[in-house]
């Protein structure tokens, strides 16, 4: 380790020697953190559109009452695979792509600590995504009855009863889990060992702190998911009864195990975003990050709390009163560190000199809309009111405010912020602003009606609905289509920026601070071969 961090200037020639294939072999064999980061981000963008197309088909079916386009079985497959794709193949790889690209640049390291593991971690993703979606294709040829139809939650015994799509999904989740754990190990090792001399943990860029907590959460909770789905697999094929009351098992055990992973997963998706938002706010307010320590401690507090609140996802399953009270209050407690984060974000903007380029717009949009997610989350924690919200469209709206406005808009913030650094070109600011406003307006048009649908009593995951829900569903579908189509602007903007455009300076943004902005844009293939000194 120390031989890397104190690595003398004369040795860097050996890095340039060796095998440099071109074309596809370059990407297959690369161990360069920038290449791997690019691959993660590209994969994520593709899967974002795959998952988006699935849900547009669902929204089209829900445009009017009655079954128009598909059978209920296929509807159930689409909603579950949409969620799995968006979570595991779009959001998580996007965050890992950011980490690969930015953490070494930000902490002054020449690469990730474990480059070969890094390569393997990425190349596990495409096979996993294929496994997840293959049953759709197989069903067309009369093999099996399609993909997993239980929703992304795999709840037993429905998943014990299901077809081979479930087995494909279990295997896929195993592979995705291995990939994520390897990525996490790599990030932890890199942050602990490869920081530039003088960069103490409390001088670490806050983005790296967000990812560090995410990495620990992944290592703590993914094995539990892997265990749960393995138990499901043995229940399905080898006659065990973990989740079957007739054999002494309990279906609710599955829900506990699943959400022990599932709840921290929300923070796994959000912490990298929470880490990058302060950088963006600070840059465009031309003012240092407010409350760095308070934010870091809040990240840690949220990380700890996130693993002890899982049962608020199953409050209607008949838990005893003491458990209900405990999970209600522990869930509400998360609002305290979260409020500290909101306070610090707004205080970072306060008395700055703000300009509103696209990344700043997305960051502000993120804060407002994620605020709605946080506040509705607070009332969802309440057991009595939750009896009405639970399993309803209110919950669907809530978690899309958390994961689309909080997760995906956060990722878009990062992409617009760092794209000039990665490509050396400026993206089109006009297109970026169009993309922002279309996204924010159509997102709310899609999901505000869903809050009302939930309150009025529409359950989630139904392919057809009573007539009193018709109007809001129609509005929601129109919103979803505008939202989906607007994302093409994003893809075009990114593509055009990769191909060319106005040259970006090294610093890119007037107010940008940090090691990554000391390098030229784009940074050389091998950067920080001589580690910088941090004062």
């Amino acid at each position: 380790m120390s031989s890397i961090t104190t690595h003398p200037a004369g040795h860097d020639t050996e890095h340039h020697a060796g095998y440099h294939p071109g074309g596809f072999a370059r990407w297959l064999t690369t161990t360069n953190h920038k290449d791997i980061g690019t691959m993660y981000l590209t994969f994520s963008l593709i899967m974002f559109f795959v998952g988006g197309l699935m849900i547009l088909a669902v929204r089209a079916e829900l445009f009017q009452p009655g079954l128009q386009l598909m059978k209920p079985e296929f509807f159930n497959q689409l909603i579950g695979v949409h969620a799995l794709v968006m979570i595991f193949a779009a959001l998580m790889p996007a965050a890992t792509g950011f980490a690969n690209w930015m953490i070494p640049l930000m902490i002054g390291a020449p690469d990730m600590a474990l480059p070969r593991l890094n390569n393997w971690g990425f190349w596990l993703l495409p096979p996993a995504a294929i496994l997840l979606t293959l049953p759709f294709t197989l069903a067309l040829f009369g093999v099996g009855d399609g993909a997993i139809a239980t929703g992304w939650t795999f709840y037993a015994p429905l998943s014990v009863q299901g077809g081979m799509g479930i087995d494909f999904a279990i295997l896929s989740v195993h592979i995705l889990g291995i990939s994520s754990i390897m990525g996490s190990i790599n990030i932890i090792v890199t942050i602990f060992n490869m920081r530039a001399p003088g960069m103490t943990m409390m001088k670490l860029p806050i983005f790296a702190w967000g990812w560090l907590i995410t990495a620990f959460l992944l290592i703590a909770t993914l094995p539990v998911l892997a265990g749960a789905v393995t138990m499901l697999l043995t229940d399905r094929h080898f006659g065990t009864h973990f989740f079957d009351a007739a054999g002494g098992g309990d279906p609710i055990l599955f829900q506990h195990l699943f959400w022990f992973f599932g709840h921290p997963e929300v923070y796994i998706l959000l912490l990298p975003v929470w880490g990058l938002i302060p950088h963006v706010l600070s840059t465009f307010s031309r003012k240092p990050i407010y409350g760095y320590k308070a934010q870091v401690y809040s990240f840690i507090a949220i990380g700890v709390l996130s693993v002890i609140v899982w049962a608020h996802h199953i409050l209607t399953s008949g838990l005893p009163i003491p458990a209900l009270i405990y999970f209600m209050f522990s869930t509400m407690a998360i609002s305290l560190p979260l409020a500290v984060l909101f306070f610090c974000w707004i205080a970072t903007m306060w008395k700055g000199a703000m300009t509103f380029e696209t990344p700043m717009l997305f960051a502000i949009g993120f804060i407002v809309l994620f605020g709605i997610a946080g506040l509705t989350g607070l009332i969802l924690a309440d057991v009595a009111a939750d009896a009405q919200y639970h399993h309803s469209y209110f919950v669907v709206a809530h978690f899309h405010y958390a994961l689309f406005a909080g997760g995906i808009m956060g990722v878009m913030t990062g992409v617009y912020y760092w794209l000039p650094k990665w490509t050396g070109h400026m993206y089109s600011e006009t297109l970026g602003k169009w993309h922002f406003w279309l996204t924010v307006v159509s997102f709310n048009l899609t999901f505000i009606p869903q809050f009302f649908l939930g309150l009025a009593g529409m359950p989630r995951r139904i392919p057809d609905y009573a007539l009193q829900f018709a109007e809001f569903n129609a509005i929601s579908t129109i919103g979803a289509f505008i939202l989906g189509i607007s994302q093409l602007l994003f893809a075009w903007n990114v593509w055009a920026c990769v191909r060319g455009g106005r040259k970006a300076t090294g610093r890119v943004w007037e107010g940008a601070e940090g090691l990554e902005w000391e390098l030229p844009s784009p940074p050389p293939y091998h950067s920080w071969e001589i580690q910088p000194q941090v004062k």
Partner: protein, 404 residues
């Protein structure tokens, strides 16, 4: 877009309920976006509560919505103020502070924290615990018990004290779902046998399931509880107002999850007792039929009726099923197999065995507890002699009774 004006559960307008009006203001914009639906009914809050629990839940919900709306407005008003005042284009010079310094700033930094602590654990926490304790009090002074069993994709209701039980399935015609017919007023929220409960009585509801997890939900009761196979869960209702209340299964339970509604008729006690008597007479008549010998035609007619209600959802009205999940009955080796063993007992994995005992790990459920002797005999006979199956044999209700 449907232009039908719908009967909607009346919106609960608590006087001065700011939240509802705020939301309404937002949604008043929608007619401009979609002029065609300007006359349609919109619900912006829970439907009218008819039980003490639902009323308390609505109260808690309204209070919380008010709190979070205020939090939202205050916090983002501060942010928007900053966005207007502290911008580069108006020449604002950035300051350099990175945290609170001095007593006053620490005070301002800690005030929001303290307010939130108070809101979470006192203002929201105490009413929430009170409502919760009340909601979970299923045992005190319960007047009667209703047992609800979820099964794919219908509900069974049982009145253990009266010995009455029956199955409640969706009655919306398939033609309406496939858009071949105009949709009725209660599209997807109507059943053949609604569950009847007396008003003003505390009903303890026990829930379980025979296959996967279902969730029994009637929004106007403020009750939602999972029905879990192999376990009993409980909840309670005390309906205050006669009427018909509609809800749905709320947990994804397979292909027809969207098609298993809950319909409750709340009536006065004398009406309830009269209904219960009638049900008992019906049950006795049905059981009585088991002792006589049925003709082939009678069994086929009855069998078709049962098949369409219980079996056609999966095995399809034409008996072709939806393989591989739901096999065809037409030409099925199981249906074409022998009816009973030589000694008159059930043959393992035979047609009778499947219908009575189901198949573990699949959606094929055991019908022995949900169908009567007559219904079982009729539907087995019907399946063996329809969809191109010509077994020519039949089974009598009395035989089923003996096999149980």
């Amino acid at each position: 877009m449907t232009s039908v004006t719908l009967e909607s559960p009346t919106m609960n307008n608590m006087a001065g309920d700011v939240v509802v009006w705020l939301k309404k203001a937002v949604c008043l914009l929608t007619p401009f976006i979609l002029p065609g639906i300007a006359n349609a009914a919109y619900n912006f809050n829970f439907p009218e509560p008819v039980t003490p629990v639902a009323r308390e839940t609505l109260h808690v919900h309204n209070e919380f919505m008010l709190i979070i709306t205020i939090l939202f407005v205050v916090v983002f008003a501060i942010m928007i103020y900053s966005m207007i005042k502290h911008r580069k284009s108006v020449g604002h010079q950035p300051t350099k502070f990175t945290g609170p310094s001095g007593g006053l700033q620490w005070f301002w930094a800690l005030v929001p924290f303290a307010i939130l602590l108070f809101i979470d654990f006192i203002l929201m926490g105490i009413p929430a615990v009170n409502a919760l304790v009340d909601m979970e009090d299923t045992k005190t002074r319960a007047d009667m018990v209703l047992k609800v069993t979820g099964m794919q994709w219908k509900w069974q209701y049982e009145y253990p004290e009266a010995g009455v039980k029956f199955i409640s399935t969706l009655s919306t015609p398939r033609e309406q779902i496939s858009n071949a017919e105009a949709k009725g007023k209660h599209y997807l929220l109507e059943v053949d046998n609604p569950v009847v409960l007396p008003v003003g009585k505390k009903v303890r509801i026990l829930l379980t399931s025979t296959d996967v997890i279902h969730t029994w939900w009637v929004p106007q009761f403020g009750v939602k509880r999972d029905a879990i196979p192999g376990f009993l869960r409980e909840t309670w209702v005390k309906i205050e107002k006669p009427g018909t209340y509609r809800g749905q299964c709320a947990e994804l339970c397979g292909k027809d999850h969207g098609f298993m509604p809950v319909v409750v008729h709340a009536v006065t006690e004398p009406e309830y007792l009269a209904w219960l008597e009638e049900k008992k007479v019906q049950a006795k008549a049905a059981a009585g039929g088991a002792d006589r010998t049925w003709s082939s035609d009678e069994l086929m007619t009855k069998g078709q009726e049962v098949y369409e209600k219980q079996c056609a959802v999966c095995h399809q009205p034409n008996g072709l099923g939806m393989p591989p999940a739901f096999p065809a009955l037409s030409g099925s080796p199981i249906v074409k197999g022998p009816l009973l063993a030589k000694d008159g007992k059930i043959l393992k994995d035979s047609h009778v065995d499947r219908v009575l005992n189901g198949k573990a790990g699949t959606a094929m459920q055991a019908f022995r507890n949900t169908l009567s002797d007559v219904e079982l005999a009729a539907v087995i006979t019907y399946e063996r002699n329809s969809f191109g199956n010509r077994q020519g044999d039949m089974i009598q209700p009395a035989q089923i009774k003996a096999l149980r």
